[in-house]
């Protein structure tokens, strides 16, 4: 199946993925947390009708009731970054709308009635926003979307009020990280209304050197401005990390990255945490030219997640998964 991480990625050396999320609600219904089952089904029905209408035909979106999605597949959606943890943990009377390549996903019945998400590989803020905006416009045409002239879009959580937009870019920042620059970076982006957090691992511990930066401000700013601000910050981050990678000691970098590749090719037991760590190094090796193999590290990273593995290998214990993960990785690395 084609997915966002299978595609070519602009600025893919440093930017792993770009996401735009728009939170929308329909007038006349309480927020999902307080909806009755009947109301949920009513909202689902309304949205299904719109998605399957003539207007949406060019987008080829598919409406899926979550009750028809097996549990493992639900969690694998989380691992592919097309649904949220809260959404897959409790999918009762919820639905999701997906484009064939899953770059568009619309969660129905998450914190808000509608969560439009567009995820693209690499650094593609404008394009991702364009697609999300198109879907938003189409939905606004057919549904009575809750909007206040002063506040903007009405959302369950006040932190989304206004644009309801969350724009984010996931970066691979191994050298900024090893130089201890993440803390300073965090402070400086906080000042201008953005946050940075590690994508994997707990707290500030960013396994695989993967960090996501996203906007915090949704009120009193236009969607376009929010996206523009993130673009400027992202370009600085990309340029800084590229410069640092260029100035690395070649033989030490080669040693670090080739060892990671060697371990991935030869290990017979591989935990998820170790995969993330080693994949980060392989990615650095590709960026710096010390690894010349045709490898898509992000694809391997995502397909090595527990539920993604179980889609291929069936239900397994954690120990069995570690063995299957090593096998999958070996196959992927050829």
């Amino acid at each position: 199946m084609s997915c966002w991480y299978n595609n070519h990625a602009p600025c893919g050396d440093i930017a792993v993925s770009t996401r735009i999320r728009l939170a929308r609600n329909i007038n006349g219904f309480p927020f999902p947390a307080r909806m009755s089952d009947e109301q949920r089904l009513e909202v689902n029905r309304k949205i299904k009708q719109v998605i399957e209408s003539e207007n949406f035909a060019p987008l080829s979106l598919k409406y899926i009731d979550m009750k028809d999605v097996p549990v493992n597949e639900r969690f694998s959606m989380l691992e592919r970054h097309i649904a949220s943890r809260e959404f897959v943990l409790n999918s009762d009377n919820k639905a999701i709308v997906l484009s064939e390549d899953e770059t568009v996903s619309i969660m129905i019945g998450e914190e808000d009635h509608i969560r439009i998400q567009v995820i693209l590989p690499g650094f593609q803020l404008e394009k991702a926003y364009e697609i999300a905006d198109e879907i938003d416009n189409l939905l606004c045409k057919s549904l009575d979307i809750a909007f206040d002239d002063t506040l903007g879009f009405i959302t369950e959580c006040p932190t989304n009020l206004g644009t309801g937009l969350r724009a984010s870019v996931m970066f691979h920042l191994p050298v900024s990280e090893s130089r201890g620059e993440i803390l300073a970076l965090t402070k400086s982006v906080n000042k201008v209304g953005f946050t940075i957090r590690g994508m994997y691992g707990e707290g500030s511990d960013a396994a695989g050197s993967l960090y996501q930066i996203s906007n915090q401000i949704t009120l009193g700013i236009s969607e376009k401005n929010a996206v523009d601000n993130l673009r400027v910050i992202s370009e600085q981050l990309i340029s800084k990390e590229r410069q640092l990678q260029k100035n690395l000691n070649l033989i030490k970098t080669e040693d670090l990255c080739m060892r990671a590749l060697g371990t991935l090719k030869y290990a017979r037991i591989l935990s998820s945490a170790e995969l993330i760590k080693l994949i980060g190094r392989v990615k650095l090796g590709i960026n710096t030219g010390v690894i010349k193999d045709d490898i898509n590290p992000i694809k391997i990273l995502i397909e090595g997640q527990p539920y993604m593995l179980m889609k291929t290998y069936g239900n397994m214990t954690e120990d069995e998964r570690d063995i299957s993960r090593a096998e999958m990785v070996r196959n992927a690395l050829g």
Copy 2:
């Protein structure tokens, strides 16, 4: 150049090498530590004459004045286990006699006038003793070797008095070691007059799980008995370690050993200590069948030692050697 570690090794899964050493002295000269330069040269001359005589012709031994051996080559002799540390640290007026494949080496002017050494790959106590004994007999025919009817052969150090024989076998004991059985083994062989020590690393720390067992008793015992006792103990050790290796968890062993192989194949910087550690794991992988490649781990281990490397790559700093070592290992592993 053919060397002992290039050859086929009986019981080579567990036994790395077998050594026999005989210490002999010539009547009418003080021990080397108290010899004048003239006396040293006189002893050298006498032995050279014998080695180059008709009697020794079938053995094709070569007499080499250590002053003709470059310093790096001297230290590489130590790394190939054909000369002792004391001998190469101070080679003034000393000489060595070597067979073409270096399985026979005779140090002249070490602690005793003559130190005959035979080193063979794997477990070959009888054969090694046979060769050493033949050389000993030939030397005794032509030289006035110091011998006392009550004590036996006279040596500088009392611990060698009697047979002057030190028989030793180097073992690779990864599983006995990981099961914590080396201490018990050490105690039990001590009781019957043998010692065990790690081949590499300091003190009891045996890098690469390589251990050497050797006899301590030389007085009141025949050479044959000493060799026989070591043979019996060695057979027990080999059989025990083989049994332990058979019962290993296959996937965990495969993971451990293949990772070691992967690191050796991909590393760009490799210290001597890490090489020893990883080679030990590769050897275990070969023994247990999880590594099927045609690899001679002991050859790689020896050729990865600092002075052996500098024979190929020229003089280098330690950092440069770590890079050349990684290159040599990659080439050796194909």
